[in-house]
Point group: C2
Chain length 465, copies 2
């Protein structure tokens, strides 16, 4: 002890930097330990969940199942047939929500879909019908489906059908309409409805015919290629769209089941919409994550989804329970004269891509995304690097060129989020908050922090049971 | 002076590291200056050329003209029509070469082309005919064309016709056959010849019809996109090929000028060959560099090309003169059981991509190329960074995502190469050295160093004249 006091003091500081600064100002030698307390109020639940004897094996199994899935596009079908949707029944993105609590873009999309289905003559009449309880609403996720932005699915819309060839499990997603004034961003003008009619009358059946003639398209393999080609499969799907066109078009052309002019129109429509493949990337991620559901003790997130009002997560160890809180509003870049005041809070099932190790988690592979959502290529690299702190695995198929082909961070662990306070990084389109507007921009967002302590609490309760 | 001696000595060392090391071992403070002598024997010529009053403005003009070119695909035509090639006349890659001095793959390609043209019944008979002086040979570059690998063009082969909409100038390249056993790698088996016959009978006319109906395809714009999508446009042309398919297929389908089965076959052929777009990237680069030719005093390289025996460069300030030396053999990765002993020396006009700021100069944009040519993503980044040392410009259209969208290094300056001894980095396919073999691998190579002092000597002579 006497010996210790004879030496110069050497301060080791953990946590807040102010103490280290104060010691340094008094000329003391200071070593700072990079330590932060966990999210407030999670200490006891963390002790319980981290002490759950099932956890390590359960998470290993969740990861193994997620990574084993191959998603093949095997068919296209109308939602009525694929999902058994009845007249007046609509699916939407995110956790459950009522018409009363629905945001502008979700309302707008439901109004447009009701007109498209012939349930109302115009959007206003559709809104009246909805307010009188005329619509039955359910989350896409509750039917094995996902939907970008508002994510509204009605019986006559055509769905991509994806299947895992090993397990036969399936997932579903509607067809992408393009950008700007489109239903999924809450627009419902006549051009939106007539595009939907063409998609149902021609595009869906034509692609169904092409897929059935050609045989399954390996969507997972395309995703792996995309990560080598500057796409992160959420807000950049350029190369994926082109590869889909390459894979499906020859069989459509050779079969000639449709007039050449319609095949050409379909090719132009798909080729002119860099986001077309998003609606295949999303159900591929959904299929992978669904395989990791319902493993007792597993703390891995299996869904992140937003309905424009609430943000919700589902966790492997807690079944179908949603942990929700009000969605945040993205920050980013705006189209034309739109600004922050025009943006609706975060909306869409597309955060399923981040949940599976793509999107915001794979931005290091898509530095050009910076031009869309703001920031620099260095920011994109940093975002991916940060996500390794809260994930259980590195995806072996999604090697990031700029990181010497290290796999993307995949499999969000609720305990790691609670422990580090690092929130999942999501990149996203922004819908106008007023129904009927359409897209107003794109940017970055995270889940509201409080859903992770809530999920952790449920995991702790399950561990104690 | 007394003051100086009273201080600790501080050594400043330029050049070889051994002197700095010796001083450091004697505990002296050493600052090393990163300096190397120029290439041996270039000192006097460097003084003359760097002192040429025309040089700065001439190079600025060369750069300006190169960067101003937009290359549009405007038509396809048989070489007979496009280039006025007569029977028995063949173009080849690289600087001029005789049959006697031609390498195995160039001989193999000429033999196959002669069979394809009906000048000989079999490859052996074609070789006899060539040995008796039956072929007229000329470099592609001498006719405004470029050809990958052997680069053999015969009158019946179809050519892409590219034009700059402002100046109307044109450049030409044959259609890409795919990989493996193909004419450009020196293979001449019956499958090679029958593929060439289909390309002339169907693929060329079909694409001609599609381009004429659609209107020009902006190849330069596609190149700019490719650099955002992991392609460097020499050994990775994946996204470029897909974008071409997207742009041309709808008009081919809509017109229905050809049977649906042939349109589907063409789409499958193009979509199944990631290198198809190389034969558009190359003439686009040729068109840009031809604009920078023949500027008195300009020290910018306007062509690098290899015929499998010699490597040659042409420089803006010295007209059509080739500066040549024996081509080096690439180092890289081999297909199947092939090894270094099977590789022919460097061959092809495709180094026109590096000359224009793509290929090896843009590898930082295509880290996945490492899997093809060897090395790591970090090596790819370092290669691009090194090329800034010997180039005059950063290409404003080719922003490298991993370098925060800094333009690729473009416009090689002979004086900078002589001054730094840094040689242009080329990535390339490797042909088997025995005629008839085909591709054996892919790798990295540089020009033989001595061609740059030779070019500098000619520039110095011109400056003194």
């Amino acid at each position: 002890m006497t010996e210790l006091l004879r030496q110069e003091p050497h301060v080791i500081s953990a946590g807040l930097g102010v103490l280290a600064d104060a010691a340094r100002q008094q000329a003391a030698r200071v070593t700072e330990v990079d330590w932060k307390p966990p999210m407030p109020g999670t200490e006891d639940d963390l002790v319980t969940v981290l002490g759950d004897a099932r956890r390590t094996a359960a998470n290993a199994l969740a990861v193994e199942r997620m990574l084993a899935v191959r998603a093949h596009l095997v068919d296209l079908l109308p939602a009525r047939e694929a999902l058994g949707l009845a007249d007046g029944e609509f699916l939407h993105a995110g956790p459950p929500v009522s018409w009363e609590r629905a945001s502008g873009p979700l309302r707008g999309a439901l109004m447009g879909a009701a007109v498209f289905e012939g349930l109302a003559d115009d959007p206003e009449a559709a809104a009246d019908l909805a307010a009188r309880g005329g619509f039955t609403l359910a989350p896409c996720h509750s039917r094995g489906a996902v939907g970008p932005m508002a994510g509204v699915v009605s019986p006559s819309m055509w769905m991509f059908v994806l299947a895992d060839p090993v397990t036969g499990r399936r997932s579903y997603c509607s067809l992408n309409e393009g950008l700007g004034k489109v239903l999924r961003y809450g627009a419902y003008s006549p051009e939106v409805i007539s595009r939907l009619r063409w998609m149902s009358a021609v595009l869906g059946p034509l692609l169904q015919d092409a897929v059935r003639r050609r045989g399954p398209v390996d969507v997972t393999a395309i995703l792996a290629q995309m990560v080598q080609m500057g796409d992160e499969a959420h807000n950049r799907n350029r190369s994926g769209t082109l590869m889909l066109l390459r894979d499906l078009l020859p069989s459509a052309v050779a079969a000639a089941s449709f007039p050449a002019s319609e095949i050409a129109r379909a090719a132009t429509f798909i080729g002119g919409n860099d986001h077309f493949f998003l609606n295949l990337a999303m159900p591929a991620c959904k299929l992978a994550l669904d395989a990791a559901r319902d493993i007792p003790g597993a703390t891995m997130v299996v869904a992140m989804a937003r309905n424009g009002t609430d943000f919700g997560v589902q966790v492997s160890g807690t079944g179908d329970q949603w942990f929700t809180a009000p969605a945040l509003t993205p920050e980013g870049l705006f189209l034309g004269s739109y600004g922050p005041q025009d943006a609706n809070p975060d909306i869409g099932d597309s955060a399923i891509t981040e949940t599976a190790g793509l999107g915001g988690f794979a931005m290091a592979a898509a530095p050009a995304i910076a031009a869309l959502v703001g920031g620099t290529a260095a920011d994109a690299l940093a975002a991916t690097r940060r996500m390794y702190e809260i994930t259980l695995a590195e995806h072996p198929l999604f090697g990031v060129p700029a990181l010497e082909f290290r796999g993307t961070p995949a499999g969000i662990d609720v305990t790691l989020v609670a422990r580090t306070s690092i929130l999942p990084q999501i990149n996203t389109g922004m819908a106008g908050r007023v129904a009927g507007t359409g897209q107003v921009g794109a940017g970055l967002v995270t889940p509201p922090a409080q859903i992770f302590p809530a999920a952790l609490r449920a995991l702790a309760r399950a561990a104690r049971a």
